[in-house]
């Protein structure tokens, strides 16, 4: 009985590979795009222009206040009404990138705000340009605060990529859903799906914890 199920499961490995591939590609593309966009938005958010900062703040709040599933539905079903034709893959990438960018924006902004004003004033006094100030003085110091939650955010992104299965993309979770229709053992199938995510996410969680400890130590904070 259970043996037959294993054989049947082994038979669906091409599907599983496709699902893993889809999850990896989705996460990776939106991770890179989301990080770039998130850093840009985070710098703009703390850049001194009130209008830009409050527009970004409002957008981030909208994204943080609604479920990701609803955001995916909105992008997938409503952008076509504005004449932008999307396939499910593009919609998934847009939704994930947007989500990542918004959360990373807040992380980066918090990091930049944590840099003492004296540092910026000293950089100004040394005649560094705006760009030099950001790149050589502020960001390197902000990274200490930014890095641990950034890695944590990547874990959330990989996990959230499972939600795109709702618009029909065959990612790892969707593959589990498809396989369970043929092999009626939900415990086994979704245990294996969970293992797939765990292998990627757990090392990242460990890395985030490590970074947090190390960065805390670098700050001279006492560990209790």
């Amino acid at each position: 009985m259970i043996w037959q199920q294993f054989i049947s499961l082994a038979g669906s490995y091409p599907l599983a590979l496709r699902g893993i591939g889809m999850t990896v590609v989705l996460s990776l593309i939106s991770l890179v795009l989301g990080t770039l966009l998130g850093f840009g938005l985070g710098i703009l958010r703390t850049g001194g222009n009130r209008l830009i900062a409050s527009v970004i703040g409002a957008w981030v709040d909208l994204i943080r206040g609604t479920p990701f599933l609803v955001q995916i539905f909105l992008i997938f079903f409503i952008l076509p009404e504005f004449g932008i034709e999307l396939d499910a893959f593009t919609a998934g990438i847009i939704a994930l990138t947007n989500l990542a960018a918004c959360f990373i924006c807040e992380i980066v902004a918090a990091g930049i705000r944590s840099v003492p004003t004296g540092q910026v004033e000293a950089a100004l006094a040394s005649g560094l340009s705006r760009w030099q100030r950001m790149r050589q003085v502020v960001l390197p110091q902000a990274m200490r605060i930014v890095l641990p939650p950034l890695v944590g955010q990547y874990v959330l992104l990989i996990k959230d990529s499972s939600v795109v299965s709702a618009i029909g993309l065959t990612d790892l979770t969707r593959v589990g859903w498809l396989v369970v229709q043929r092999v009626p053992n939900g415990l086994l199938v979704f245990f294996l799906v969970g293992v797939g995510y765990f292998i990627v996410c757990y090392p990242l969680i460990m890395l985030a914890r490590r970074l947090e400890r190390r960065m805390g130590a670098a700050h001279g904070e006492v560990q209790l």
Binding site: G186, F198, L224
Partner: protein
Amino acid sequence: MLENFSFRTIVEYLPLFGQGLVTTVWLSALSFVGALAVGIVLCAMNLQRGWLFRTPAKAYIDAVRATPLLAQLYFLYFGLPRLGFVLPELVVGILALSLNSGAYVAEIIRAGILSIPRGQVEASVASGMTYVQRMRLVVLPQAFKVTIPPLLGQAIVLVKDSALLSLISVAELTRAGQLLASDRFMPAEGFLTIAAFYLLLYYCLKGLATLSGRWLGTAGART
């Protein structure tokens, strides 16, 4: 463009949205209570010295944090009947949300307890307090202050996560939007309306987090 946007249809479907909103609110509230219970038990296990309780608690917390909620939800939805528990979708959903959020709540409470300076505990030991007295009179009242804002942050996450229950056809808010979208082919009306309702819940909880931070004299919640 959205020139055909029909407010009339939204008004027509308002009772459905209302029901969905109410369902989302009470099932989230119930799941949050469940998550608190799961979290307190896990945290108590995790703070033990011996490995017997600690290892399973740590393993559970890591397993939950490293896998997506949707996979956990399907695990219970497709797995429980196999173990002989045929439960309604709603119960499976509340169970999944409680078990998932419980792991995060456990970490929040643990961080709160560990934030109490060691000297406080040592002083109460020196005063001859028992373990229970120490916890009840010294550690927990102080930890409570630190945990409330992040717990409210977790409540916000939980309300948003409850949208996933629509995928196992629980009749909550997102499901109401999907129904309007598929019945009348009006995705804009359906999904924009529920997004507005979720924002309403978000701002309520966020306001509560800010207020609690002010009352307790701690920084605002991070979501």
